[in-house]
């Protein structure tokens, strides 16, 4: 529980880029530019000056190799004065939330009161890496002094050395359980007896909801139309998430082949989240400071929690972390009006839903007799989720908070839970609360 004297911490404002499928309109982007673009705009729109910030905290899973402290690059390119420090943080898929919770920690500790928190991921730019073998070959060539030594080293070259390692694939494999993320979802499918049809139906609903929200302009309040870096002239600003398929049907999804476990698996590309580029910026501060700055905060951060679990069942992370976050907030699952569970895989969300509702699971894993409760499907991801929108890993956490915070006002709700599973076997959860007079 938070001490009564602790300051009330709020999401004062936020903006994100559209979520764009990797290799698409953002293929020329780089993380520094994308992050700076949303940051600069958020500052301009809120009227907050860069020098007022205590720090810029950026979450990213795979920052570009030439931007070692991505956050610093983002801050300076956004025109934030050099005196303001910046750090890059990582907690795999939850890096965007990690940036926010670190800011919360800093504010609670009294170290500062105004933080720019980002999640940035340009998965289009993930590199192919030259393997160890080739690196070793070059090393030996450098060391070879005499002509003979050089020739013999040269002779040791094998074409197989040229085989690259795909950073994207290797990043999505858990090195402890040696499972690809999709394979951990297949584990849950077997644990909870999920069917292919369950998953594809859920995925279709995600596209459907996302489409409706897009069409009624629900995302306009959070998306900044972008002019992406590109070699060709751009014809228009990019303003919509491009992963949403307007005419998605269950039948079409059912025709896809399982990707991770053939032939009997149920996880397909169609019911998994997409590989995506995007950036999200949130201004985290205290309620007091926000009113000082003349800002109408989106939501109060009531509590947050992190939890660890079996890496091969990482998809259940939301269940474990939500239990802790709800306890801290002094609320129950039922109190939540909006629940954002990141859709890494449709199967994984469905598994969580079952685990939340299962007394047995509660006894075996959560150390309590009764289940946390049923989740009403209407409350769950009302604007669709990552299956439709995509999942730019480091940036997703920010979007969950931003979307949930806006949903409080948009749907006239009081409490929201934003939670996600984290590769490597963790879960993260944040409870948000509407502030009276929040901007509608």
């Amino acid at each position: 529980m938070i001490a009564p004297s602790a300051p009330s911490i709020v999401i004062a404002a936020g903006l994100r880029s559209p979520w764009i499928k990797a290799g698409g309109q953002f293929r020329g982007e780089d993380a520094g530019h994308l992050g700076a673009a949303v940051t600069r705009e958020l500052l301009a729109r809120t009227g907050v000056r860069g020098e007022q910030l205590d720090e810029v905290i950026t979450g990213s899973v795979g920052p570009p190799h030439d931007q070692a402290n991505l956050s610093r690059v983002v801050a300076l390119r956004a025109g934030i004065p050099q005196e303001v420090p910046a750090r890059t943080v990582a907690r795999n898929c939850a890096s965007g939330i990690e940036a926010v919770t670190q800011a919360v920690t800093e504010i609670r500790a009294g170290n500062g009161s105004l933080y720019m928190c980002l999640g940035v991921e340009v998965m289009s730019a993930y590199p192919l890496i030259m393997g160890r073998k080739l690196t070793g070959f070059f090393e030996r060539m450098m060391k070879a002094r005499s002509l003979l030594a050089r020739l013999s080293t040269l002779a040791s070259f094998r074409p197989s050395m040229l085989a690259p390692r795909v950073a994207l694939l290797e990043g999505l494999r858990d090195p402890i359980s040696n499972l690809l993320m999709g394979q951990t979802a297949e584990v849950l499918v077997r644990d909870f007896g999920l069917t292919r049809e369950d998953c594809d139906t859920y995925a279709t609903e995600s596209h459907h909801r996302a489409r409706l929200s897009r069409d009624r302009g629900r995302f306009e309040r959070e998306i900044l139309p972008m002019a992406p870096l590109s070699r060709k002239p751009i014809m228009d600003l990019v303003r919509h998430d491009d992963g949403i398929r307007d005419d998605q049907t269950v039948e079409a999804l059912m025709r896809m082949r399982p990707y991770f476990e053939k032939p009997d698996g149920v996880v397909t590309i169609g019911n998994s989240c997409g590989i995506t580029d995007g950036a999200c910026a949130l201004l985290i501060t205290t309620e007091e400071k926000a009113s000082e700055l003349g800002l109408q905060p989106l939501a109060r951060i009531r509590s947050y929690a992190w939890a660890g679990l079996d890496p091969s069942r990482m998809g259940l992370g939301p269940v474990f972390s939500s239990k802790l976050a709800l306890e801290q907030a002094g609320c129950t699952l039922e109190d939540m009006d909006v629940i954002e569970i990141n859709e890494a895989f449709a199967a994984q969300v469905l598994a969580c839903k079952q685990a939340f509702a299962s007394d047995k699971f509660a006894r075996e894993h959560l150390g309590q007799d009764e289940a946390m409760g049923e989740i009403d499907s209407v409350k769950l991801n009302p604007n669709g989720g990552a299956v439709a929108l995509g999942h730019p890993v480091g940036a997703t956490g920010g979007r969950l908070l931003l979307t949930a915070a806006h949903e409080l006002a948009a749907g006239d709700h009081n409490l929201a839970l934003a939670t996600l599973c984290i590769g490597g076997g963790q879960g993260g959860a944040v409870v948000l609360e509407r502030i009276n007079g929040s901007a509608a």
Partner: protein, 752 residues
Amino acid sequence: MEESNMQEAPQSEETVLITEQELSEFEATPSAIGFPMPDDAPDPGTCIRVERPESGLAVVTFDSPHRSFPIFDAPLLRDLDTVLTELENDVTLKGIVFTGRHPGQFLAGADVEAIQEITDPLLVEQAVIAVHALFDRVERLKPRTVAAVGGPVPGGAFEFSMACDRILLVDDKSSRIGLPETMLGILPGWGGSHRLPRRIGIPGALDCILTGRMLPAKPAKKRGLVDRLVHAEDLARVASDIAMGRKNCRRFSRGIWKWLIDRNPLATSVIRSKALAGVDSKANGKYPAPYAALDLVLSAPGAVRSTWAAREAKAIGTLATGRVCKSLVGIFFASEAAKKLGKRADGSEPARPEHATVVGAGVMGAGIASSLALARVNVRLGDLSSKALATAISSHRKEVEKRRRRKRLQPHAANAAIDHLVGVEGLLGMARSEIAIEAVAEVLHVKASVFGELAEQLADDAILATNTSSLSVTAIAKDLPHPERVVGMHFFNPVKAMPLVEVVRGEETSDETITRTCALAIALGKTPVVTRDVPGFLVNRILGPYLDEAVRLFVGGADVERVDSLMLNFGMPMGPFVLLDEVGFDIAQHAAASLHAGYGDRMEPCPGLSGMGDDRRLGRKTGKGFYDHPKPGDRKGKRTVAQDLANFQTESWASSLPDAEITDRLVYAMVGEAARCLEEKVVKDESTLDLASVFGTGFAPFRGGLWSHAQRIGLEAVCARMAELHSREDVHARGGGADRFDPAPVAARMTE
């Protein structure tokens, strides 16, 4: 393109040719050096300091007490003579360092004011030969001589450095070295035309001298203009070490290429024809200096040492006293004067804005936003159309990419330039802007409402600048809070190429607003001219009658290509019909209509243009105007005159006009309007008008600008000719537009 040369000249010599010193009367007899000695000349021996920090080393510092930036004026040359005698007689010396007051300041070359005043070629020759003798003595000094220079090192300062054994240049952003003399209509006359080709070869020397470009440190080292780069802090130490032989420093050498190219008659003849073609395309026979420089440089490697002084003196004697040189120097001084507009009365300079807003992402708005972003200002470009924003951003990025490819921007600077331009749908988040420039539709209430909305967001002292060309600044400012910060900032299309900005003073515009706006224009690399808030301001007001006369000639049956080539030959950068095609018929007609509304009959436009077609025939942007234009992207395609023009030529009186009459009608239409502008004090003075005509209309720089041109012909003769044109039958018959040939306003100037 002469006017592009002229653009570069003042920019590259920003702080170079200091002219603040009023040059006093010449002495009756020239001094021994051949230069006139000013009245306020300091005592002998005070302009150059000689120090001996260690035995065997002399450090010679140029430090004229009467100059904020020393130049090679008479007192300095007098003292140099004395110092050289002292150095020549000192047998203990091992090394000599020549340097400036500090690493960022050496010498600013020759005395440009003296060049403007001088009229006797013999006097020039005498002065040149005297300086040659001095520099030759520097070259013959036995000890090792090192020129340790930094900051701007133009012309004479560089020529002096080349007489030393080694040249050290400070590796700093402020360093610029080169021979810009041809920009002013003269050529390097203190040995530069010989020493540079000998040093870096004929091709390199031609490039330096003909373009007049001042090179930054790294390119200067790469091309061999200097022998070594050094940090400012190390300049004195390293120079001493090299002079004393403690450090090695190889003199730049071209090795075998010297023999393969510079001394190979076959190679030089190829270079000559290439270079000549290049000079022709730019100078078009109107500027003698590049031709003279070309001849000198090409024959330099073979020229006998003792003939250098005479060769250069002869060439420069003719050039410096010639008309073109005086014209170019006049414009140079006018543009230097324009730079002072960016300073307050107390000499302080307003801070460059960090944040700016541009509203309207059309061609003008996009161009203005792009120049601001390239000048490291954070720009928010607002427009309601996201497509227009995307186009504006794309064209900015294309320009950045071009500069990056040409290494004018390093990758990190290119990134910053891209970051500095942000597109905004609407007018969101503009509060931090210190200046907002609008380039929206030319409709009073649209502009006023944009400013009204911005005024609510922006600070009370943020400048609201309008890029209008046809509306009154005062009218736009009328209902705004704090109208004293509303000003006109009239850029010309295309923004990145056109060097002029008209800063328009509305009735309530404050001096501080004018100064800040001028300072911003200067920061963008433009030359500001302050004008009164009259219809068309200055440039469009002058151009209006010129273009209308051209259209009248066309309707009267004159051949389009003939008129264009006549004006090209006169020295305009392009003929009037090419210009109309570039501007666009719609824009031209709109401008003409607003001039007509403002000035009445005198500006009544000929209806010829409106009869030429509809929306599909508006000039280059539609592919067809007076000419057929190649499609965008078609690089090989050439402009050809349209075949159907005869359909629009309803009369035939102009088809047989003599060349002189065509030129005179076009030019005198401008002269008449210029006289009225001077009378109404639209701009401060005649030299400002000259500057604006050259930078804004591209009026032949070698003629010194519109009013200089009229004065050179003689106002009396101009009046006579105008009266003649005024009485022409067709002029009478046309009704409106006849009075532009009324000689009275010009006659009124004669009595001034």
